[in-house]
């Protein structure tokens, strides 16, 4: 019994992974990625057609919310999961990315790929502006400041003329195509592949960071900030880095989102989105990339799949959250045991 209770799917998976040699790993990863890339066609193939979402189009659901949420949850995971900073206003960076795309493309005629680095840049810049004062604070004070920042961005968008006020910006162009891939309403699967590419890039980036100096610094800060700073980790700088990198991912998601939906309004960037993304991170298994991605995919997909419940779907969503957290408080796929042990002491 105790063996079953201590069973950790993440460690189990890591064990199998460690036993493989390099070609096996490459084949597995490629097979896995192509399987995910084939997802847009799952609705029309018999055995997987149960995945199809009622009312909303499955391929669109795959882009937003599923793909976007996975991307943003991975970004937020850098902040919350890796360095242990509670950010309740992550939606702000998403909004900044989306509004960069909206404004630069409709007023200046830039296309999505040109806007993308700037959207990311703006999100990072706002991350620095917010982070420099806010990251000196601890725990829940940081939470309320970030929450406030999220609201500030939304309210500013609501009240400025350049952002179109409450009605937002309409007529945002789709991205221009490349390699014969067309990006328009008829081809949501192409957007999905772009988002998938961004997700893979983010995962690769997080994995690189994790094994290098920033990752170790984040880990130290998360476990005990005082000790980390005593051991010579420049805590403010590394906290700022994790914050800014998280912001960059959010900004990238925002740019793609705006050019996909073509119309954005401040309503889309409410506090609930921040909370939902945080829920994805914790639900999936805070700190563990695969858990976070899985959790985000499930939490984004579930409300769409149960749309036939109409009004009560959000109620069911809330109940699922309570139930899951009670059954698996560390999330679906918890982080490594090694990383968890010290967490108890700091509670």
């Amino acid at each position: 019994m105790s063996k079953l209770k201590n069973f950790n799917l993440r460690d189990f998976g890591a064990g199998i992974w460690a036993g493989w040699n390099r070609p096996t790993r490459t084949i597995f990863v490629l097979a896995f990625i192509s399987l995910i890339a084939l997802l847009p066609f799952a609705e029309s193939w018999g055995p997987t057609s149960f995945l199809n979402t009622p009312i909303t189009s499955f391929q669109n659901v795959l882009v937003y919310p599923v793909g976007m949420f996975v991307l943003m949850a991975l970004g937020l995971n850098i902040v919350v999961g890796k360095s242990g900073l509670l950010d309740l206003g992550y939606v702000a960076f998403f909004a900044i990315g989306a509004y960069s795309q909206a404004i630069l493309s409709t007023f200046y005629g830039w296309n999505t790929w040109e806007v993308l680095p700037f959207g990311i840049g703006f999100a990072m810049l706002s991350g620095v502006i917010l982070g420099l004062p806010a990251l000196r604070l601890r725990g829940d004070y940081l939470a309320i400041i970030t929450l406030g920042f999220g609201e500030i961005v939304r309210i500013v968008a609501l009240n400025l003329t350049v952002t179109g006020g409450p009605s937002g910006v309409a007529g945002i162009p789709n991205p221009p195509g490349f390699f014969g891939l067309k990006f328009d309403i008829m081809n949501p699967q192409n957007f999905f592949w772009v988002v998938l590419a961004l997700i893979l890039l983010t995962i690769w980036m997080i994995r690189r960071f994790t094994v290098r100096r920033p990752g170790r610094a984040w880990e130290a800060i998360r476990q005990d900030e005082d000790v980390a700073s005593l051991m010579g980790v420049n805590t403010l700088v590394y906290k700022l880095w994790s914050f800014v990198i998280g912001a960059a991912v959010g900004g990238a998601a925002g740019v793609i989102f705006a050019s996909k939906v073509m119309v954005i309004s401040p309503d889309m960037f409410k506090f609930d989105v921040s909370i939902l993304i945080l829920a994805c991170v914790v639900f999936g298994g805070i700190g563990n990339i695969w858990g976070v991605a899985l959790g985000a995919a499930i939490l984004a997909y579930l409300p769409e799949r149960i749309r036939f419940l109409a009004d009560s779907r959000q109620l069911v969503f809330g109940l699922v959250l309570i139930l899951m957290m009670n059954l698996r408080p560390d999330g679906l796929l918890p982080r490594k045991k090694r990383e968890k042990i010290t967490e108890k002491g700091s509670k």
């Binding site: 939470a143 406030g148 506090f271 909370i275 639900f283 109620l315 309570i322 957290m325």
Partner: protein, 317 residues
């Protein structure tokens, strides 16, 4: 920008700010009491407030049988009905807060889960309550019956001392006084303070931790219920998402004053109420919440633990 209102409406704004701010501070007790003991944000408190406002409304309409639009009551009947609504709302909120603790916190605490896990389960409770009431009310705002005739004590320096707003000032002050006495003097109050200082040591001293935690949720619920009653009496309406803005404001107030601290909640709420009133008069109401957050950031930069916060060593997470 319209600074002239400060000259002409200063006392009026200050009075309204006081009334609003003290309602905030009652709700922020629901955050600060729980935070003091558990070091966790009681995320579902905003929905406890929402349920409180609806319980006042349903109690008055369906149980006391007062149709909406009826003329206001007078004399003993008025006082009795107000008292019933107040007590009803406080009891409902306290029970709900205890239920929230049982559902969202207790099991997770027993398993030693990380603090974000309970945050998410509290968010789950919050979503479930929000959506439940949204369905129940058809997502439409509800108007509460007017029990209290809104007569004024008179006007002093431009401030109109309306009875309901006077009540919203006097009642929180009484509640805070009683609560302060309770926490500093009584045996149970002392056990709350002991647990907030050190859970381990309190356990060793024979304090039943779970009982203390339930008690703090209960107190938070009671004060939030009182706030819900005052809110419904002053504004005479409610809607399923009324808790959202109230929750953010109350949490901000708690942080502003120094979270985990009774007096901090009181002064934080007061400061926030005043700030909101003056900011919306001067800058326009759409910039109200921005001003609040900017002031909060500035205050936290100079006083990182809020106006009345504890020492850094004690606020360690």
């Amino acid at each position: 920008m319209n600074f002239s209102v400060i000259g002409s409406q200063f006392w009026s704004l200050a009075f309204q700010g006081l009334a609003l701010g003290l309602i905030y501070s009652l709700v922020s007790l629901g955050y600060t009491m729980v935070y003091g003991v558990l070091r966790l944000i009681n995320f579902a408190n905003s929905e406890v407030f929402m349920v409180g406002t609806f319980s006042v409304l349903y109690l008055q309409v369906y149980i006391l049988g007062i149709p909406i639009g009826d003329p206001a009551l007078h004399g003993v009947k008025l006082i009795a009905y107000l008292a019933i609504s107040l007590i009803g709302s406080m009891v409902v909120c306290a029970l709900l807060a205890i239920l929230v603790e049982l559902v969202a916190y207790r099991r997770l605490r027993a398993r030693g889960a990380n603090r974000l896990a309970s945050l998410i389960s509290a968010i789950g409770v919050s979503i479930a309550l929000l959506e439940g009431f949204s369905m129940l009310t058809g997502a439409r705002g509800k108007i509460a019956p007017r029990l209290l005739d809104k007569w004024s004590f008179g006007e002093v320096a431009g401030a109109n001392f309306r009875i309901d707003q006077v009540m919203a000032i006097v009642m929180p002050i009484i509640i805070f006084f009683l609560l302060d006495q309770f926490v500093t003097k009584s045996r149970l109050g002392k056990s709350i303070r002991a647990v907030s200082m050190s859970e381990e040591n309190s356990k060793l001293m024979g304090i039943d931790i779970n009982r203390v935690i339930t008690l703090t949720f209960c107190i938070g619920g009671l004060t939030t219920g009182a706030a819900a009653f005052l809110y419904t009496t002053v504004y005479e309406n409610t809607v399923f998402n009324v808790g959202f803005n109230m929750g953010i404001a109350a949490f901000t107030a708690a942080v502003l004053g120094g979270i985990g601290n009774l007096r901090g909640a009181f002064y934080g709420g007061l400061a926030l109420g005043m700030l909101e009133q003056f900011a919306s008069a001067i800058l326009g109401s759409q910039w109200k919440s921005i001003t609040v957050f900017v002031v909060l950031v500035v205050i936290l930069l100079f006083k990182p633990n809020g106006l009345f916060g504890e020492a850094v060593q004690q606020t360690r997470t």
